[in-house]
Symmetry: C2
Amino acid sequence: MKHFERLFEPRAIAVVGVSDDPVRPGSQTVDALLRNRYAGRIYPVNPKYPTYEGMKCYPSVAAIAGDVDVAVIGVPARGVIGVMEDCAQKRVPFVVVPSGGFRESGAEGAALQDRMVAIAREAGMRIVGPNCLGLANIHSDVYAGFGSITRPPALAKGSVSLVTQSGGFGYSIALACAQAGIGFRNVIATGNEADIDTVEFLEALLDDPGTSVIVAYIEGLRNGRALLEVGRRALAAGKPLLVWKGGVTNEGAKAAATHTANLTGSYDFYRALFRQGGIVEIRELHEAVDYIKAFAGRKFPMGRRVAVMGGSGGSAIVFADAAEQSGLTFSRFAAETRRRLSEVIPAIGSLQNPVDFTAGYIAGGNAPKFATAVRSVLDDAHVDALCINLATTSVPACKVGADVLQRIAAETPKPVVVFLATPVPEAVALLEASGITVVPSPVRAARVIAMLAAYREARERRAAESGSAMPAGRPFDGVPLTAFGTSMPEEEAKAALERIGIAVSRDVLVRSADEVPFEQLSVPLVVKIASPDIPHKTEVGGVKLHIRTRAELAAAIDEVLLNARTLAPQARIDGVIVSEMLTGGFELIAGAVNDVVFGPVVVVGAGGIYAETFSDTACRLAPFDTETARDMLDELRCRPVLDAARGRPALDVAAVAHALAALSRFAWANRETVAEIDINPLFALPAGAVAADALIVGR
Amino acid sequence: MKHFERLFEPRAIAVVGVSDDPVRPGSQTVDALLRNRYAGRIYPVNPKYPTYEGMKCYPSVAAIAGDVDVAVIGVPARGVIGVMEDCAQKRVPFVVVPSGGFRESGAEGAALQDRMVAIAREAGMRIVGPNCLGLANIHSDVYAGFGSITRPPALAKGSVSLVTQSGGFGYSIALACAQAGIGFRNVIATGNEADIDTVEFLEALLDDPGTSVIVAYIEGLRNGRALLEVGRRALAAGKPLLVWKGGVTNEGAKAAATHTANLTGSYDFYRALFRQGGIVEIRELHEAVDYIKAFAGRKFPMGRRVAVMGGSGGSAIVFADAAEQSGLTFSRFAAETRRRLSEVIPAIGSLQNPVDFTAGYIAGGNAPKFATAVRSVLDDAHVDALCINLATTSVPACKVGADVLQRIAAETPKPVVVFLATPVPEAVALLEASGITVVPSPVRAARVIAMLAAYREARERRAAESGSAMPAGRPFDGVPLTAFGTSMPEEEAKAALERIGIAVSRDVLVRSADEVPFEQLSVPLVVKIASPDIPHKTEVGGVKLHIRTRAELAAAIDEVLLNARTLAPQARIDGVIVSEMLTGGFELIAGAVNDVVFGPVVVVGAGGIYAETFSDTACRLAPFDTETARDMLDELRCRPVLDAARGRPALDVAAVAHALAALSRFAWANRETVAEIDINPLFALPAGAVAADALIVGR
């Protein structure tokens, strides 16, 4: 925050471009500052007016006698450069540029933006925008922008800060929160990010003691990895970071040389980053509302076992559906809990989870019983979090319930979430003040608990990860990649993998069938074309499987060579690779992509013919440890195949995780030279994991 | 409705069990009737009181002089039978029984419930409940129940009717709608459904001219197929039926003999039914709200191409993300549209879809331009529906926008949905009155349009289906199933499939290798154990693939026989089946399950080792036509594998659809004798679809 102190807490703001026209940005800024009683100095600037709204109006920024911390430049694009030069001269530390007509509008605007940045860099001045709604510090009544951010009613004061790459949609998030009673600290719309970008603002907010939760709307980042670092810092600081990623659908195909690169889009990388950085993803406005409220309670479930109590069986069922779909499990109560419940719950109710205390149970005279019932469940060591369905209780019953619950909330470290359909503002206020999250649907109650559990897990994962030393990846030490043109031959690529501890299949490179030491190999065999110019061997008929006899082998070698010469006549053919075919395992695909925004990212997925059909993949930003690799494998839908079942042996998950972590270190260490790595297939075997084919593409 | 007229529009209601205690059900009923000024006669019944709330109080139902249309029996379970007998004597056509303590409470309660039903059947009396909140007809001020249904404030009058198997959660749905300004007609909580069940109420509401939309919360049905018929009737009547299915997660494994039966749960059957019956599934409270509002507009997109306009790029991106995820596509505008837009949209805006008319565009003076812009897009033949992001417009701008849009809504047959984050009740009222759906998030806007498109498609599918005659399935005419014990031998099952037009693989049943006409078969071959007692051949090592030589064949036959004798010593072994191995196709799994609630349901899915891993299945209630079979295949994630790609030929989708439709007719025609059918694998080939193995299990 320190370096942005003058921006967030300016002692004086110059507003260039004030006008009699109240819809002009400058006019809106001054109007908002006056209306909200900003305590610092306001310097209106417009050579046309001697005074503005009863204040002295200056002909230029240079003409202002005192220091200026922030200048809002509310003039059209073509006039901005002159004002910037003025501000640079006066050593104004921060300018906010609302105007459009810069990089977003074409080549001319881009040149203007470059010029703007050059002026700022030289003067040590920082820019917010251009093409943005600007920012507001609600606590200090600072409004340095225009449009919805400055419009009445002002946001309430609170500890949530918002950074958004879309002023319009970002402010919709703020409004949704405001309508639910959530207050704000800083609200920043970053626009074109010519200078200060989203990540730098997030860093500043992490340092701001008045900000307890940060929400961001992001469309794109120049440096994805920086967001990972911000996420990790936020996690360590206990300041939840909620991010809505806009633009998650894939438009147009991505040109990529490897299969792994084809299997993922950049949204997958964002999601991997969110998981690695403990960032809470939001996909709906009400999620922002619910999650911010839930974090305000500052209680996190120690596990994923939930209990639910209420007077409506249906609400409990709907909660259970959503809980299971959110990865929560249902607590099985201890005998003692059931005994205690039996003393206070009517006979026609249920003492099991979900607890049915029957409709009409919560009433004035029953308050002590209700309290005992809730305490019994919260005391159970098998319960990590509790949902209470107040649903459609009457107004008096709802108040009784809220009163009991707020007292219990003060005693328990476990999070309590209440589903309430009846609007009873008094009860809601009481519950929320005691740290209980109130939501208007049982589905949202389940999602809130799942989110809190995931957040806690992320903190634990991060703590474990920080504690373990990550072995450094070793740079590639074989023949330089550049020696092979676009891609490295299979045998070289496999040698490279072997050096970093990834097992590879037993291969022989031959030019004809007589060179094959048939007796030393065990059938079935595989024959593959060996050529640095044929990355996708199957597409030219360059692979033959299930070979059992010498005769079949000779025929396969001839066929593969003929196919390659026919379908890839320009390719340099080094011969054919004969390998023992790996059976009894499961075919995965693994690889690394060196992304322009995220750097090296490792991808693993189900292999074989289903790889592209089911897009069953998981990815993580490299480098990472084996624990992260295991977490990644757990994300795959095909993950159960790796476990023992129906007499089938378990496959070596540890070996696969080890290979992925090694691959991640290698991809990271060689990020300057390696563009893509493709291990297809990577066989998970009962003992070990073996790369049966490999491709390394240079940058 | 006719047969329920006296229930929904009673001229006189007897309320048994009124009491000085205002929380007793009877007291609540009378209180609600008086408070809402019910126009019919009210007969309080309780021998203890001469009068009740100023009305004459009767000692029994028999003592009432006039006719009684509905009796609300608000006494504890043990007293209900006596009152029922009284009501039967008096020929009361309908009783509502709020009390619990019946089937839900154990054997004694179940006996009580049976007795109750017997009395009603004999007298021709109908029962609502027991163990229910009862019902209300909001239009006629009828309140025949207790709890939330009778509690003030009363629901507003409207044309939505609600049937719910959970009073508590169902009323939460009603409350969420009420808070959004939606009015109701009939609200019915069905409780134990001892007599009248959800489906019968839905049928009655379909006949009710005052009901335009029906919402139901369902946990379980005795007869799933009846709901399919209700859905089809509702679709034909143009009365949308929205259903929330509670209890969708699978608890415990289902005991099933076939693979197909293992691949699905009853929720899959419900979803298939929803699709076949044009029932709109809801999974969140706000979906009920949004969809009911959207249906009120009575406009449906002719296709799935949407356009979006607004002043915030971010909102458009978020809409686009949700639109793509909901199966919508983005319209490409005609040149004429872009020309028209260019005349009214500022240069820094965007004339493409999403249209960016820039922030601050909608203002009083700009209203004609805004109108032209919206009309240009709606006039484009490539646009099926339009979303307008008013997002965070100022209050005056919002009103201007609403005024323009409500006029345009009167001219266009295309649905318009507005996203508005700013709360401007006046504008919302204006928009909604003109049939425009207003939602508080762009995600919800996309979902609403997708739902309307899906509803229209369902109506079209149904119309096409009703027009085409469904060929009757022919009953099984081979050896009676009962002759084979639990399951039919593979060769008989295949013969049965062949008779209904499903191609099967070329097989020879032999006892030893010398019996195989090796020269007449083309390799590779498959060897499988033939035994009616071994339904899962692979589990006993009963299958060998990729056999190419006579020697391999002999070894395979010996091995398979030995495995079977070792691992299934009790099984009757008929020999081994030798078949040509099918290659160059895609392995599906198909089958039929005869479900206790839904009857015969056909399932198709990705086969092979991934079948259970990815649970990539689709199902439909049998019987159905080939169009439905194609629709079913389109649901599979593996569907693209059936299309030509990368030099791979297209597979015969028509043949697969034909086989599924034939299977569905067979399963339906033989529902009395067949429990399950399993075709695993069903090969989709470049020409044709072939069943390579088949199992038929008798009931």
